[in-house]
């Protein structure tokens, strides 16, 4: 038994086995999801017309606000493309997303993982970034045929390259095992970072796309006795509340995804070689 633990932890020999057997556990999560589904169904079915009307009004207002923002975004995006051409950089790309639904939460209190209802059948892959409506949530770490496991950014084994949105200072945001806080690693004492700064994904490491909100800096502690700043940030995504998540496909994986939606999003990383400096906007 001990040998098994050690082999499982320090080598990846057991990974194929785990992937093969992953299909066995999906029914369990589907069963435990039934009460939630019944509840959703109840909410959808037994609702008064008045409530629906109010909700409809609210949604229309919200849509209007978003459309106004989108109008600005279009011109900004065009401007961005022109500027990038001047810089000889690669063009804006569109990310494609696939909506997924949460069907389970890892029962292990030390790990922050959730199980979603998309798998290889829907084109999900290992390392795929996952968003919710408010920010980056995490990445897919295990894929089954119809379900996969997502590691949240707050897990203590997770880290993500970020930059401060205000001035572009780069850092690594590590999960702390606490759902409401990330800590920034190795931030030197004279770095310009303050409470309230928005941290967005920097795209370094080529796992997460650039420009998605990750966290907001809550607190910066300058302790003269320590070599680095202690920076605590709060994740933007609602890690423990969101039920509908978005799986992000970068442009290159888009072709094979059925039912995916396209979403105007951040630019890819700037490439220095001139061959990739594609002209023309989106």
């Amino acid at each position: 038994m001990m040998v098994l633990v050690v082999v499982g932890l320090y080598t990846d020999r057991l990974e194929p086995l785990r992937e093969k057997l992953a299909q066995l556990v999906t029914p369990f999560y589907q069963i435990t999801d039934v009460p939630g589904r019944v509840n959703d169904w109840r909410k959808d079915t037994f609702v008064s017309q008045a409530d629906l009307k109010i909700e409809n009004e609210a949604l229309k207002t919200e849509l209007l606000i978003h459309q106004r923002k989108l109008q600005q975004l279009a011109s900004l995006a065009a401007e961005n493309v022109r500027l990038r051409q001047l810089l000889n950089a690669s063009q804006m790309l569109q990310d494609t997303v696939l909506i997924a639904e949460l069907i389970g939460v890892s029962p292990n209190p030390l790990s922050h993982k959730v199980i979603i209802n998309r798998g290889t059948k829907d084109g999900a892959f290992k390392g795929q970034p996952v968003l919710d409506a408010f920010g980056l949530m995490g990445q897919v770490i295990e894929v089954g045929e119809t379900s996969s496991t997502v590691l949240l950014i707050s897990d203590s084994t997770h880290a993500i390259p970020v930059q401060v949105n205000r001035n572009g200072v780069r850092a690594i945001a590590e999960g702390t095992g606490d759902l409401n806080s990330l800590s920034l690693r190795h931030v030197s004492a004279n770095t310009d970072i303050r409470a309230g700064d928005l941290l967005v994904s920097s795209g370094l490491g080529e796992r997460f796309p650039v420009g998605y909100p990750v966290a907001e800096v809550l607190q910066v502690v300058r302790d003269p006795g320590k070599a680095f700043l202690t920076v605590i940030a709060q994740p933007m995504a609602r890690l423990d509340r969101s039920r509908h998540l978005l799986l992000v496909f970068a442009d290159r994986d888009k072709a094979s995804v059925p039912g995916a939606l396209s979403l105007p999003a951040a630019a890819t990383s700037i490439s220095s070689s001139s061959s990739s400096a594609v002209s023309g906007g989106r």
């Binding site: 038994m1 001990m2 633990v5 499982g8 932890l9 992953a22 209190p109 084994t157 759902l179 423990d240």
Partner: protein, 161 residues
């Protein structure tokens, strides 16, 4: 009707299935520490009251399945199950005569031992533990023991004889 022996196996399999489902039932993130160790409780019950029906090999496989289910390193739960099962085998003759709350106290110790090995493996996997939280499942399991005992007793008496 099934034969009584077969019937018993069906009951055991059913109880473990229910325990497995309960062990992944979604809880709010902050409440997860309070989830009792359902599978372990059921295993302890069967070892205490039917020590010849559940084999160690079976417990190992059950533990491995639970590891798979919960997405933890292989061997974590089977290690705990086997160690606790061994202690149970050594002690069942005494524990059967305890009052139900005294049994609960003993359950607290047993689940606590399993939690130690669980968190030892978790620590090796890079998720170190801080604080006394790891004993919460032991406490909730101990509190749940009378219910679990009553349920399984009831089921055995109704369908086995």
């Amino acid at each position: 009707m099934l034969s009584p022996q077969l019937n018993l196996y069906v009951i055991i399999a059913f109880s473990f299935l229910v325990a497995l489902v309960l062990s992944v039932y979604p809880l709010p993130m902050d409440m997860r520490w309070w989830r009792p160790e359902f599978v372990l409780l059921v295993a302890i019950y069967w070892i205490f009251f039917m020590p010849l029906t559940v084999s160690f090999i079976l417990l190992c496989i059950l533990g491995l399945f639970q590891d798979l289910l919960e997405g933890v390193p292989f061997g974590q739960h089977s290690l705990g199950l086997v160690i606790v099962a061994y202690i149970c085998i050594l002690s069942y003759q005494r524990v059967r005569n305890f009052s139900i709350w005294r049994q609960s106290g003993w359950i607290f110790v047993l689940v606590g031992v399993a939690q130690l090995t669980d968190n030892w493996v978790q620590g090796m996997a890079g998720r170190p533990l801080s604080g006394i939280q790891f004993l919460y499942p032991a406490l909730s399991s101990a509190l749940l023991w009378p219910v679990c005992h009553w349920w399984l007793n009831n089921m055995t008496h109704r369908y086995h004889h």
